[in-house]
Symmetry: D2
């Protein structure tokens, strides 16, 4: 305790006066309280509290990545925050289970009173999405749903400001582009790697052709898929092709950053790439957790309302299903898994480089 | 203990000799054991053990529903088994998290040795799907994937036998068709219910029309959706229209069973419908848990292999994603949620009927 | 939407202005914000929100049990609320995992600023405990810890008021005492049940005596345990002995209520006891979930602080461990499991009684 | 695929013939199958499969730690295996939830047939405990329970062999004792650290003395606790005192290893201690997960049997509760949390040393 510090009181510290008086069921105001409206309010308030925490931790990560150099120690701190967000996402998911204890019929007792309010209007959730770097062009809601139009002026202004800032996607991309060792004079990684991949594709082709359980139409379909994989691989090596994919909206991550990410994924076992790998992995998990959450959310909406309109005045189920499949941000990292190869087939790093990638003390 | 009974020994009772000698990594046979292959084997064996348990409990449920009458006490036992299966499905989901601790690169060290074996060939899982009543016409695997062709003759014969038996879907449908009280002389449920629904649809229409945050194109789209809901409702009342939907593959559940299911969902609070509701609810949860599992499985395949072919010799990710959205069995129950209404708007049951739906003793 | 109703806005409905401005880290006030204090605040606020919801649902249950008669339909609603509380308890547990992502060293950066505030002072949590019916005599905190002394006058007054009301334990006890059928003229349950139990104890005795893997000292210990079980059984049949156990603080539940609870546990498969059983089971789960939570909480305190004092100014770990083992409310139900017997050994109910325990329609 | 390799068939690869024929319910042999015995068998078999996997990964870790030097890359691999075991422990916990879907009365239908078999006799679980380094002296089962006496000769011989090998505890202790930098000429860590701790203890004393919410008896108790903490701290600096604690069975970890562990916990943010910290943390989580599992197991036994004897012929509940609190292996690491201090109060490392603890490249 410090001089002049008043002893802290739990109730005041947590501002429970404000917090526990913030639940005003509409049905109660109307004189006929629906017991379940309290749950509806509290679940959504708990969501907003956790969104605030996610934003708090994302800000920490973004501040670190806004620097010209990210120290290994800082990278490690960022990864820990990411891993916390994963756990919070676990809570977000479990909160759906709690909400689902409300029956559809109990929900209908007060649904009409909420119209046209909707989770759709959560400014903090939009801040998270924009801050992570959601691709506005891909949003289903920009077309049919227009979430901006449903916000008041102040909330719109806030979000527009967020849109002008570098997203986490952008910051990570820049950081990846700075990855050293990619073009080392003594080590032509890409040439030897290319050979490994070509061998792999060749083997896969043979596997399909020799698979007696497939009929000829099926084989053709499989081989066509393989050809697409081959094309994607070409793009990995050829900047021009890669850039065209970006223009066509098939990819987002720059050519240089893509190569760096692949290098990190492949050499994750080298001490110096340990933290970078954990970070990339953490970003993929973040994406996949939100995808899972959106799927469960869509299932919930379906069970609660069927094809009836939600409180936002449109079919929640359809909207949520659409976002679940499209709102992925770090998808380009996931797609790189196609080009992972067994560790034993990995081009050996030159001794000098390997030394640079390690500590002075390599262990004890 | 019984006369002449040998004292039971843990190791023998669980046949641990057989169980713990059933792990033979291919990579070890080839002289260069990949550490992670053991995990791969054990996860899949644990899946098969749990599939056996699910089949054991499904058999119990199906035996009960094969009778001419299902007593309330039996219904309750069946629901408990269903709820156990949900918990087992929770394990199946968590086992994916365990498998995911294997890196893609470690997996690639032995993937080639497994080709063309695939989880795809799990006969028990197919038995579960068929036993539940998967709609063979909807399977993506019957077209592009042809899972039967990949099984040996014995396994094919087993599955074909299962296909000739009544599925759980069929048995539940027959049971629903037997639901009493639906057409009670003193109570014309459908006429008063129809009025409630029409009022609801009318109100939803007004909500859309008066929503100032929608532009005219968006309003049109919403109203079109609403019109479809209106059509679905018509089908609920009109057997002919309903049967046409079945012919077109849009629905599976018979008209009579559909009406009974809706009645149960609406009057779930009446003591006699308590167990029937829990059962229907349990079947929906079963479906939705398998859907979640397939989605996670697809995510895993994507992260492990990208668009590379899986051990089965085809893109696992694509296949799994396709099945996740299509292999739903009790979807028709879910769709009924569109026609739930607030309890307060529910047609009152006549006193006489209400008495029949209750115990002699209504409480204490 | 209703005439004169303003369209609801998400941000206003959830009072996000109040909610999202209720986080004021002390370290920030002191001019040197500790990043992790936000997490500390938000976790505790989320706890308080969920405590409010638990109190809301407990109130619903207690209102129903305060009536002279609880209808089966009402019982079913109460059980659903209990099962929701279980899911909320799942969140409370997972929130510990989130808090644990904070390192002890990061916690120590702001711990001193919080002293002497403590989760210990959560009035809502005390309301839950008292409302459920915690036995004040058993509280470790009434002796060494004196939680009341740490609350301000207003909070103390609130809790004292709660203490004057019937707890859920008391209400359930009264309801159990009203259970019909226990003393039915045509059916002397207790005589035939006594025989079954005596047979069971006799068999257990033989098992111990014939167990060749136990030496004589071990056998003696086992037989002593068995003798205690035998004594407990006597108390079940003899009101006088039972009342003495209550006086000695070894039991809480009245003799009549205990017998009723056992009857329900044994005949849970009879339709009319389905809901009563689910309720008792739900209360046991409630207890066991709080026990698990307190254990995890104690583990967390240990990992964060070791034997250092917590923010409340005393060793949190020791206190929490003490409460985990003692603060059980519905323990007497759990202890009844000793006297469950296989369904096949259960005294058959007379036909007439069995009929009374069922619906008019027993199934379809 | 390799030349001469037979195509792998799923059913054969997983030895499903052996696996799915290893379930032989005793009740079925006796001619009256209890439906729930299958669940009992399968849960325990799934446990054994996962125990095999845990042993497989522990072997990997122990092999690495048996070397004279553990490279950072190897440490990282070991931590990943540990983190997998945590996920498997999550499964072990969830499997209890599945088993709990069996009612006590259904269990009693076949319990007698299993006597005296018991989970107690799981050789693999004992191998895990011994392999981790359980302190045989602390086992409650060595006194009252004597698990060895219940095993057949072959199983006893196996375990006795495991007991002769270095446990993971021992191997980690040796590795910790090798930690460099602890006694660096230019840096007298312990002197400056001692000052920090003394300041902390002094402050805690003042907090207790000035806490107006405590009466004098309570203050005395708190101060006594604090004095004990002070004594523990002395032992940390004084090898003689520490060794006495070991002799008295209050500690296990050698003085040198304890100091190294503390150093790692304090400087976890330095890149070179990142992996060592994750390892220590992983070992603590391993312990705490098993503790949670044993607690849940004890709760289950209580609910299933009360104080009736279990299949092993003794009160399972009591035994399990006893082991939950005592069978901790890495407890000494946990106890170190008492001596963590805020990062900002940590003695600064000399520049030269700090450089040695980092990569050549510190970030990008």
């Amino acid at each position: 305790m410090f001089k002049n510090q008043q002893p802290t009181y739990y109730h005041d510290y947590l501002k429970l006066n404000a917090l526990l008086n913030a639940q005003s069921p509409k049905s109660k105001e109307q004189g006929n309280e629906a017991h379940e409206e309290m749950l509806f309010i509290i679940v959504h308030q708990a969501y907003e509290l956790w969104f605030k925490q996610i934003l708090h931790d994302l800000k920490f990560i973004k501040n670190n990545f806004s620097q010209e150099q990210v120290l290994d120690e800082e990278l490690s701190e960022c990864t820990l925050k990411l891993e916390r967000i994963h756990k919070i996402q676990g809570l977000l998911l479990s909160q759906i289970d709690v909400l689902e204890t409300m029956t559809p019929m109990d929900f209908l007792e007060f649904r009409d009173l909420l119209i046209p309010a909707s989770g759709f209007q959560s400014v903090q959730f939009r801040e998270i999405e924009i801050g992570l770097g959601i691709n506005e062009g891909q949003r289903p809601d920009m077309k049919q749903y227009n979430f901006m139009g449903r916000l008041n002026d102040k909330d719109q202004a806030n979000l527009k400001k967020v849109m002008t800032q570098d997203s986490l996607f952008k910051l990570v991309e820049k950081w990846l582009e700075r990855t050293p060792f990619l073009n080392n004079d003594e080590f032509d990684f890409w040439t030897s790697y290319k050979l490994s991949i070509e061998k792999m594709l060749e083997k896969d082709k043979k596997i399909i052709e020799e698979n007696e359980t497939l009929d000829s139409a099926q084989k053709e379909a499989q081989l066509a898929n393989l050809a697409i994989t081959g094309k994607t691989f070409e793009a990995l090596l050829n900047e021009e092709i890669h850039n065209k994919s970006i223009e066509e909206g098939k990819k987002r991550l720059s050519h240089k950053a893509t190569q760096a990410a692949l290098f990190i994924l492949l050499y994750r076992h080298e001490p110096i790439f340990n933290q970078p790998f954990r970070l990339l992995n953490g970003l993929m998990t973040l994406d996949s957790n939100f995808t899972t959450w959106r799927h469960r959310h869509a299932q919930l909406a379906k069970r609660m309302l069927g094809t009836k309109i939600g409180t936002g005045g449109s079919s929640g189920h359809k909207y949520l299903k659409a976002t679940a499949d499209r709102n992925k941000i770090f998808e380009d990292f996931n797609n790189l898994s196609t080009f992972l190869i067994p560790k034993s087939a990995l081009p050996m790093l030159p001794k000098e480089l390997k030394k640079k990638l390690s500590f002075h003390f390599s262990g004890y």
